[in-house]
């Protein structure tokens, strides 16, 4: 509580310019071929201030922080640090100044231990000033409540623990500015709360924090100031505590984002797709083992699976799509046929469509045109007697591009030339366009702007209403609540019970994402002294919930 008050004092001081400016950016401009990522951006941060950097995907946030951290060299503009003009040529210069950064994709070395990872970041001078790094790490983890064992190997750590290692890496160097790039996107709600406590404590001690996020309620809860970017320009600045999520969203997207009050929920009919007692060891060395997964997917419903990244979603998706067909035939059923051993191609022919998480490389071939990428999953209808009907195929691709407002230079554009969000729209359109019986889909609107997300939502709902069974796997819990008729969560390769979305809430799902259901599940196993939970046990739970 104490440091909470402290931090709001800092905010006031920052506002009254009593606190010294730690970092000032004047007219930072960075141009890439074809787009201006940063256009004359001017902003500043005071000591002890938590400052939010907001904007849609592609607004230029990442480029700006990379300029501050010395990964990208801006074309124009000046950076002032503690009132002195500096040129940050490389990350090591940034670190010498006292700037630390926690990347969205962690820059950790999995085969090294925690303390080796931290040691690598320290200069020789810093190292000699610390007599025993492991002790220092233990001391800091007590001081900030960041629970880390310095001797563990990073590959054995959970995502949340890895983030703590990244933060610890900055703390050991006693940074004066900590940059966090979407730190909460990989955390459970409970972990987010812990992170915020640490950040407030740091700010109270005078460390400035630059916080990048999409999640507006977090910004209003945590940050003193906010700078909002759109199209590479500073569109607005505000004090988040005087704003609401809606008013900030309005500034971000420019028009009032249509607030969807939730779509009508539907009840599924017959089971078309089911997973029975699926247990499988991972193909990747650091993968997650799937443990006794059971669920039924019904025609005309959307089933949402929530979970923090790396809890078995990737493994589950590749087993369901057929990329990984090592599981027993009867573990996966499509319309009463055991398809566990079928290849991905065979499953597609049976009416199973799939949108993988990794759109470039898995969802689309980067070097091929959109037309060719359409053909890859749509072979029927566009091929007659072994010959491709290019005219028909091109027309269809153009139609997809218009329908889903994919920004590109026509159907001949290479898949890799599209931005992530636009490619996502294209792939979603392509898969929905096959009118599949079952659609398995990871992160349907990842990186897609608000308007396009709405049209993807509509397309998914229409597909559902036409009687398709849809499985959504996503880290975006809000979106799942919006779309899914029934929900479950994965944690450490286990699947929670499946419940009606209307009968649960974000807290319960959040706790399931953290694995609270696993103990219950195992105790039921002991109670009934059966070898494995059967589908009937699951449905029992469903009715209880």
């Amino acid at each position: 509580m104490n440091h909470l008050n402290n931090s709001s004092n800092h905010a006031q001081q920052g506002r009254q310019s009593q606190n010294p400016q730690r970092l000032s950016l004047i007219n930072i401009t960075k141009e890439y071929p074809g787009c201006i990522a940063n256009d004359k951006i001017t902003m500043s941060l005071a000591a002890g201030e938590i400052h939010a950097l907001l904007g849609e995907n592609g607004a230029g946030k990442s480029t700006l922080v990379k300029s501050i951290y010395g990964v990208v060299a801006p074309d124009q503009g000046d950076i002032f640090w503690d009132g002195r003009k500096v040129i940050i040529k490389s990350p090591s210069v940034a670190r010498d100044l006292g700037i630390g950064m926690v990347f969205q994709h962690f820059s950790l070395f999995e085969t090294l231990t925690v303390s080796e990872n931290i040691e690598l970041c320290l200069s020789k001078k810093q190292l000699t000033s610390i007599p025993d790094l492991s002790d220092k790490i233990r001391q800091l983890s007590r001081q900030y409540g960041l629970d880390i064992d310095p001797d563990r190997h990073v590959h054995s750590l959970s995502i949340g623990e890895r983030q703590r290692v990244e933060i610890m890496r900055c703390l050991v160097q006693s940074v004066k500015l900590l940059i966090l790039d979407e730190p909460t996107s990989v955390l459970t709600p409970q972990e987010v709360t812990n992170l915020f406590t640490v950040l407030r404590q740091l700010a109270a001690e005078g460390c400035s924090i630059l916080f990048i996020s999409h999640k507006l309620h977090e910004v209003t809860e945590l940050c003193h100031h906010a700078t909002i970017l759109r199209g590479g320009k500073v569109i607005a600045t505000c004090e988040p505590k005087n704003e609401t999520s809606a008013s900030i969203a309005k500034m971000m997207v420019g028009e009032l984002a249509e607030q969807t009050a939730g779509y009508a929920k539907k009840q599924g009919t017959d089971t078309v797709f089911s997973v029975n007692n699926l247990s499988l060891s991972p193909l990747q060395p650091f993968g997650t083992t799937l443990k006794q997964i059971n669920f039924q997917l019904q025609a005309g419903e959307i089933l949402g699976i929530a979970g923090v990244a790396g809890n078995g979603q990737d493994e589950l998706m590749s087993v369901l799509s057929g990329e990984d067909n090592r599981s027993k035939a009867e573990t996966i059923c499509l319309e009463n046929q055991n398809i566990g051993r079928f290849s991905a191609g065979k499953r597609r022919k049976m009416g199973l469509a799939y949108v993988p998480e990794e759109r470039l490389g898995r969802g689309a071939v980067p070097e091929m045109s959109l037309t060719e990428n359409t053909l890859l999953t749509h072979s029927e209808g566009f091929v007659q007697q072994g010959l491709v009907q290019w005219k028909k195929l091109k027309d269809y691709t153009s139609q997809l591009i218009t329908q889903y407002s994919v920004k590109c230079h026509g159907e001949r554009s290479e898949a890799q030339s599209l931005s992530g969000g636009n490619l996502q729209k294209f792939i979603m359109g392509r898969e929905i366009g096959q009118a599949p019986k079952v659609l398995i889909c990871a992160h349907p609107t990842w990186g897609v702007d608000v308007g396009a997300a709405l049209s993807i939502h509509q397309a998914l709902l229409t597909l559902r209403d036409q009687g398709a069974a849809i499985l959504l796997v996503s880290e975006d819990i809000d979106e799942l609540f919006l779309l899914a008729d029934r929900m479950a969560a994965v944690c450490d390769g286990y699947l929670s019970p499946v419940v009606q979305t209307d009968n649960t809430n974000i807290n319960e799902i959040g706790q399931w994402m953290a694995g609270t259901f696993i103990d219950e599940e195992q105790s039921t196993m002991i109670d009934t002294s059966s070898t494995s939970p059967t589908p009937s046990q699951h449905s029992k739970k469903e009715t209880q919930a």
Partner: protein, 310 residues
């Protein structure tokens, strides 16, 4: 089989394994940084021929060694520039380097084929060499054998115990992350490749100045390739490389041994042994994907371009 015979076999196994050890030690450092250099055979041949020429014309075996090391490093510099600066494909560039080195060494060595020089004399280490059996096997070798063992110890120490080793491992595992924390990835990789080249040159010199003090076209007869297999066989661990090198050395003299024991097996068949052993080992390791992935440097063979980071 009496004890003297076994002693002689083991002595010869170490002698035969030493060029493999030298070149594999260079390659493991190179691969730990994430660069796969398939040009080992070419660099080794160039080291052998230049070492021989230098020793032949100056009469100094020491100068020959330096010439060979310099040549190996120069060859690897070409490779490093192509692969690291111009981002060419590592596999294709390495193969080209081998073909280039094989041809060029035959060309510049054509004048001295069959000439002989005075090689290195064995250094009998006092006291230690008097230990029965072991003394004869380990302590009656020439200078380069002792150097190779010292180098193995030094490399094991540096890669496992020091910050330099940590940086090398980090670059090989995740160059993007290493760059982000301020490690100069290209510099580390350049140095690692250069070290690999120098060791390949030294290994070539061992062949043409010590093992058989003469130059013959293609005299390394595939040792550069065996060394590549040896690194995988040893799962990138220096201690395993020492053992593996002597084991492969033993395998390659087996045909002499068996003939000595009166078995009449074609020497052509028996000289295949090390290659067969290599294939078997690679199959065994390859069967366990899980392990292979954990042990191998993760970015092995993948280019890193700092300008593409943004």
């Amino acid at each position: 089989m009496d004890i003297d015979f076994i002693t002689q076999i083991l002595f010869a196994a170490i002698k035969t394994g030493t060029p493999l050890l030298l070149i594999a030690l260079g390659e493991v450092v190179c691969e730990k940084s994430g660069v796969l250099n398939l040009g080992q055979e070419g660099m080794m041949l160039m080291g052998a021929v230049v070492g021989f020429l230098a020793a032949y014309s100056t009469g100094s075996a020491g100068l020959g060694i330096f010439g060979a090391i310099f040549m190996g490093a120069t060859m690897s510099l070409i490779f490093a520039f192509l692969v690291l600066h111009l981002n060419t494909n590592q596999v294709a560039t390495g193969l080209a380097l081998t073909i280039f080195g094989t041809g060029l060494s035959a060309f510049i060595g054509s004048g001295v084929v069959g000439e002989t020089i005075q090689g290195f004399q064995p250094i009998i280490i006092p006291l230690l060499s008097d230990i029965p059996v072991i003394g004869k096997i380990f302590f009656t070798h020439d200078l380069l054998v002792y150097i190779s063992i010292l180098l193995a110890i030094a490399i094991a120490y540096v890669t496992n115990k020091t910050r330099i080793g940590l940086i090398l491992k980090a670059v090989g595992e995740n160059p993007n992350a290493a760059n982000a924390i301020g490690i100069n990835v290209l510099k580390v990789r350049y140095l690692a490749v250069l070290f690999g080249g120098a060791m390949a040159g030294l290994s070539g010199a061992y062949m043409s100045l010590v093992y058989t003090p003469m130059w013959i076209e293609n005299m390394t007869s595939g040792r550069g390739w065996i060394a590549l297999a040896l690194v995988v066989f040893a799962s990138w661990r220096v201690g395993n490389i020492v053992l593996g090198a002597y084991l492969f050395g033993l395998a390659s003299i087996m045909h002499l041994v068996l003939q000595g024991m009166g078995w009449s097996i074609s020497s052509n068949l028996l000289s295949m042994l090390p290659y067969v052993a290599t294939v078997i080992v690679m199959v065994i390791i390859g069967a366990d994907h899980f392990k292979e992935k954990l042990l191998a440097p993760r970015s092995l063979g993948k280019p890193f371009n700092p300008r593409q980071m943004a």
